[in-house]
């Protein structure tokens, strides 16, 4: 048995001992322990060092509000900094280390900071470290950064997995104490779908440690009966190890389930944690209340503990935080700790009660327990890193006393947990009778009950919980359930507010951030009186405990210094999450290669077989080029592919283009309104290039659209804009022009589409298309489009369009034939040297041909900038028409698309270089444009590019300077016609 383990009692499983290590030293505990309770049981008092002054700290609480007992849990890639020992479940082999100390917890060099404490007051850094300016980044800041922070993150990729799930319930209940269980019973019995989230690994809340009598039976028995009944209801779910952390609009709640944090590592195929998005019609916040400290000098010494926490350690974990304890309380409830301690056979040195009167029952308890009751306040602690030894007391009336004890329980009253109810900027309201804030202005559908609502008695909790459950179920559409409210007595509760005991020495308000009462006074003196200023200036409440034990005390002290009341002083805005949540949990499985979905083209696996190199284009993987053995780099492969197309025939999977079926009697009229050019007059069997503007007159997207029937067009978009164009067209159809008879269907995934290009395209196609189809220039002229039969009976759509400038077709087959199509093209094209080509070669050929693409359609260019101004119809209205005519969009000095070529033909061009007039020093005033797209043109045998250049079209032939300081390059280029290849277009028409 460990030194501070009680010989009996508690909810620990004494048959399951567990070994663990803290700071390298071995200890043992039991199943059912937290790391904190196991440390208590082993008599460990010093567990951490504070943020700024590196003061020794012990365990203050027994829950997720813990400010001090923060440790690094686990090791290696699983190291979890700032983990609360008070919520970490013990498991066999657990490893934990204290943090923010060097070289050891016991001897921490940085505790020298305490010597500078007179200087290191709130906000001191705003007043210094300013001279010389360069010293900030070089010296001061690195030192501050090293000193700040608490634990160390792993610094290695997280090896565990997370997932996310949705849940839908009528009633969501936060907390499984008496209030939450009563609410669950009431709602569950109506048949409502109920989910109850409990942060702890054991349901029961304060019932576990504080007991009581409910419906005439011991609380433990009532608890197990209630859990059994709830378990028998099919639509009631109790989730332990699950914290409700946030409430979002529309009755959506965030909860984090710690699925496998209580084991060394998650079993195979299981996640570490799961993020729940719970959609609930009603929510009952039964999250209880948190006991609050009283601020006094030395209140941060190890061994000073919240009174309720001390009860939990003794009653729930059978671990004694102190063998001879003292209690400092300002209320009735604190005394329960004395009862619990005495009941466990521990000694009580004294009770220091700030109230003028105590009850006769407690007075007789004191005489029975043989300890004095001192009326007054604790004014100082004598003790060090090994814990409390002596307690100084200022007695009412001015005298002083001392109490020898090895632990001090403190109770300053209780603060309802108002976080969840305040996340929609609801401001809690002050209640004088309990001297605490209670929820007000909760989000729609949410209600607080029990201690979370300021009802501290057991009977009141059960009543409020049960009533809230009934109401919630009814509001969610369920009738009455059976059964009645569980009954229990209400304990007496009297409290004399006491926030701060004046005294010598540092009195901590926010223990984690080392914010003292005098820091608050200083902030007030300097004008930081608003609570939000106070928080920001002193960092009060901004630590990992989110101020759960410090916020209210902080503003009470501020209220006292400013002479305002506490409600006048107000609270800061409450912000989620209620407890810190691992970033990995919010990400779920969206990490690494599964960060986003991947779209594969119909010929993807075939291309992979060919050894294609793939490039990410949006969500797509596209074949970028197809390297062949012996080729030294991508450029060699791409050049080969281009030459093969220009000299023979090649093909490329262009299925990534957006494809939309446009049906309806008004399809043509509709297209006239969304494109700048006219489509209603397009003949059936023909394709036309179209350009769309945004309503602000800027180019949105382009593509070819074919008319397959009188009332059926087939529209293509760029790969990048496919989804957005569909959305835009639906907007036009449904909102702008609802009178038109048009139907839109995305057929992007229905068709595998290939571009087949090169002078031998027709030869190849003849092998693949049914011989009855006329592919001659007369029978299938440039910009023709129609359905054809392929050999073997598959039907395809054939379009005589060209992006490469060659004699070319695009052919669509139903997508499941896509892979066969690629194989068949290889077979059919074999005699003609057919070559698959990727997006790089596609890009080279479009640049050679002067076709604009993504880099030129940048969202800032007009049709005229792109050299397509003449396409704008003057005979009809279309989206963007009016705004395109604004003065700045038609200004003569706009940057327009031109070609560029280097004067030194050996020179490589790069996109992103800027265009500067020759002979001038580059500067903001002569920055006349930039290079948008470049490639090595196998056809020209040198690099070529497209650029946006001021007045470019007037400057064809001018030599300008390509300025690229980023890459240390400067060279001359000639502005030229953007169409480098076959400017007459004879090849594509031939």
């Amino acid at each position: 048995m460990t030194s501070h383990r009680l010989s009996s009692g508690g909810l620990i499983d004494r048959s399951a001992p567990l070994n663990f290590r803290f700071d390298g030293k071995s200890y043992s505990g039991f199943k059912g322990d937290t790391l904190a309770s196991a440390l208590v049981a082993n008599g460990v008092k010093l567990v951490g060092r504070s943020f700024k002054y590196h003061r020794p700290r012990g365990i203050l609480t027994a829950g997720s509000e813990e400010p001090n007992a923060l440790i690094e849990l686990r090791s290696g890639a699983r190291r979890e900094p700032n983990t609360k020992a008070t919520t970490a479940e013990l498991y066999e082999g657990l490893e934990a280390a204290s943090q923010n100390r060097w070289p050891s917890l016991n001897f921490d060099v940085m505790s020298v900071n305490q010597l500078f404490a007179p200087i290191f007051v709130a906000g001191f850094y705003y007043k210094t470290f300013m001279w010389p300016a360069k010293f900030w980044e070089a010296i001061y800041e690195p030192a501050i950064r090293r000193a700040a922070g608490l634990g160390r993150a792993a610094g290695i990729a997280d090896p565990d997995y997370y997932d996310k799930a949705w849940a839908h319930y009528d009633v969501l209940i936060a907390g499984s104490g008496p209030t939450g269980l009563a609410a669950a019973l009431a709602a569950g019995r109506t048949g409502a779908r109920v989910i109850l989230c409990e942060e702890d690994f054991t349901p029961g809340g304060r019932l576990i440690a504080d007991g009581g009598t409910i419906d005439g039976m011991p609380a433990a028995e009532w608890l197990s009966r209630t859990l059994a009944e709830l378990g028998s209801l099919p639509d009631v779910r109790i989730m332990t190890r699950t914290t409700l952390f946030g409430v979002y609009d529309g009755g959506t709640y965030g909860a984090i389930e710690r699925v496998n944090d209580h084991v060394p590592s998650p079993p195979e195929h299981q996640v570490r944690q799961r993020l729940w998005r719970i959609v609930a019609k009603r929510c009952v916040v039964a999250a209880g209340a948190l006991e609050r400290p009283i601020v006094f000098a030395g209140n941060d010494a190890p061994g000073v503990m919240m009174a309720s926490a001390m009860r939990s350690y003794i009653a729930r974990y059978a671990a004694a935080p102190a063998k001879r304890m003292a209690l400092f309380t300002n209320n009735e409830d604190g005394w329960r700790t004395v009862e619990t301690a005495l009941g466990a056979g521990l000694q009580v040195a004294a009770v220091i009660d700030a109230r003028a009167e105590i009850s006769p029952a407690h007075r007789s308890l004191a005489s029975k327990g043989g300890f004095p009751v001192l009326h007054g306040s604790v004014s100082g602690i004598d003790g060090g890193k090994n814990g409390v030894r002596k307690i100084s007391v200022s007695l009412t009336g001015g005298a002083r006393a001392e109490v020898e004890a090895d632990g001090l329980a403190v109770s300053g009253g209780w603060n309802p947990t108002v976080g969840l109810t305040s996340y929609h900027r609801g401001r809690p309201k002050w209640r004088d009778d309990i001297a605490a804030f209670v929820p007000d202005g909760a989000p729609p559908g949410m209600v607080a009950a029990g201690a979370a609502n300021g009802a501290f008695g057991l009977g009141a909790c059960l009543r409020e919980g049960f009533a809230a459950g009934v109401t919630a179920a009814r509001d969610a559409g369920h009738g009455n359930g059976s059964g009645s409210t569980p009954v229990a007595d209400d304990e007496a509760f009297s409290l004399t507010p006491l926030w701060h005991v004046a005294g010598k020495g540092k009195a901590f308000v926010d223990q984690q951030h080392d914010v003292t009462a005098s820091d608050i006074e200083l902030a007030q003196r300097e004008g930081f009186e608003s609570v939000e200023h106070l928080k920001r200036y002193t960092t009060l409440g901004m630590a990992t405990d989110q101020g759960k034990t410090s916020n209210v005390a902080g503003l009470a002290i501020m209220a006292a210094v400013t002479g305002k009341s506490i409600p006048e002083t107000g609270t800061t805005i409450y912000r989620p999450p209620y407890v810190p949540v691992a970033i990995g949990a919010f990400a779920g499985h969206h990490r690494d290669e599964t960060f986003h979905a991947t779209r594969l083209t119909p010929s993807h696996h075939w291309a992979a077989e060919q050894g294609a190199i793939f490039v990410d284009t949006g969500l797509w993987k596209r074949a970028q080029w197809y390297p062949r053995a012996g080729e030294k780099d991508w450029l060699e492969s791409v050049t080969r592919e281009v030459k093969a197309v220009r000299g023979g025939v090649g093909f490329c999977d262009v299925s990534t283009l957006g494809k939309i079926d446009v049906h309806g009697a008004d399809a043509g009229a509709f297209l006239d309104r969304v494109y700048i050019n006219t489509f209603s007059n397009l003949a059936v069997g023909k394709a036309r290039y179209g350009l769309m503007l945004r309503e602000d007159g800027i180019v949105y997207d382009d593509g070819t659209t074919s008319r397959l029937a009188e009332d059926h067009y087939f529209l293509t978009t760029t790969t990048a804009k496919a989804g957005l164009v569909m959305q835009h067209l639906e907007f036009c159809r449904q909102v702008l022009f609802p009178e038109l008879d048009v139907q839109l269907t995305s057929v992007s995934d229905q068709w595998a589409q290939f571009s087949i290009a090169g002078p031998k395209t027709r030869d190849l196609l003849k092998e693949i298309v049914d011989p009855s189809e006329d592919l001659s220039n007369e029978g299938f002229p440039f910009m023709g489009a129609r359905e054809v039969a392929l050999r073997g009976g598959v039907k395809a759509r054939l379009f005589r369009i060209s992006f490469s400038g060659e004699m070319a077709f695009e052919i669509s087959v139903p997508a499941r034939y896509g892979e066969a199509m690629a194989r068949n093209l290889m077979i059919a094209g074999h005699p003609f040297g057919v070559t698959p080509y990727g997006t790089e070669a596609l890009g080279v050929m479009r640049i050679e041909k002067g076709h604009v693409a993504g880099p030129e359609l940048s969202g800032t260019t007009t049709a005229a900038d792109l050299g397509l101004g003449k396409m704008m119809s003057t005979k009809k209205d279309f989206i963007g028409r009016v705004m395109a005519g604004r003065e700045a969009l038609i200004a003569a000095d706009r940057q327009v698309v031109v070609g560029i070529k280097p004067t030194d033909k050996a020179r490589r061009l790069r996109s992103g270089a800027h265009i500067i007039p020759k002979g001038q020093t580059p500067g903001p005033d002569n920055d006349q444009g930039y290079v948008t797209s470049v490639c090595f043109s196998p056809t020209s045998d040198h690099w070529i590019g497209l650029a946006l250049v001021e007045r470019g079209r007037e400057r064809i032939g001018e030599i300008v300077h390509a300025h690229d300081p980023l890459r240390g390059e400067d060279y001359d280029v000639e502005i030229c016609n953007p169409v480098f290849y076959d400017p007459d277009g004879g090849r594509q028409r031939g």
Binding site: H269, T594, E739, D741, I768
Partner: protein, 207 residues
């Protein structure tokens, strides 16, 4: 003359490996792909919803769904896909787009989706639990009963989901997924299901 084959290939051809997957023991989730179907999107022309409904009734013998439901006809399933539109799922060419077109002339626009989607069947004791990781909609049996359908998203990807007839007392969820996303979503489903144990069946033909 070159010889070539027009063998079709499902987008899940590589990804689907029949057999057990994930945790060992009794599989909580059964997964397979249903292949070989005709799928036609039928959208009413402006002002022609009633005419489309009549045409559908004449063609399939049942009324097309006007709310998010899947309706079984003798030889087809009609799945709601949006206001005044539905998907006709069938096999054997009986209700291919060519076969349907004459009956809907003037009342609806038809678009072939047979190759645009992959059909995945999900069942098993943990199917609903697993789907809760992917789907934001409520699949509780009281809410999403047999025949319920939804146009929704999973993993940011549009899907059509409907509940077929129960099999062995277990719910069966049918999922139409866009073909180019299918492999990616398949892996996501497997990841989500792994902890429950998965039995991946050999692809089946649409019955």
């Amino acid at each position: 003359m070159a010889e070539f084959s027009w063998e079709t290939r499902s987008p899940l051809d590589r990804a689907l490996v029949a057999g057990p997957n994930g945790a060992s023991g009794d599989a909580g989730v059964s997964l397979t792909e249903i292949r070989n179907f005709d799928l036609v999107q039928v959208m009413a022309r402006r002002g022609k919803a009633a005419e489309m409904a009549e045409a559908a009734k004449a063609r399939f013998g049942v009324a097309a769904p006007e709310t998010p439901n899947a309706v079984g006809a003798a030889d087809a399933t009609l799945i709601w896909s949006g206001p005044d539109q539905f998907l006709a799922l069938s096999t054997g060419g009986k209700h291919s787009i060519e076969a349907l077109a004459p009956g809907f002339t003037g009342s609806a626009s038809l678009s072939d989706q047979s190759h645009a989607r992959v059909l995945i069947s999900i069942s098993g004791a943990k199917a609903r639990t697993m789907l809760a990781k992917l789907s934001s909609i409520d699949l509780h049996p009281d809410v999403f009963g047999v025949g319920a359908a939804a146009a929704t998203s999973m993993d940011h990807t549009s899907v059509t989901l409907w509940r077929g007839a129960d099999r062995d007392g277990q719910a069966v969820f049918n999922l139409l997924v866009f073909a180019t996303f299918a492999e990616s979503l398949w892996h996501t489903i497997l990841d989500s299901a792994a902890e429950y144990g998965v039995e991946i069946g050999h692809p089946e033909e649409l019955a």
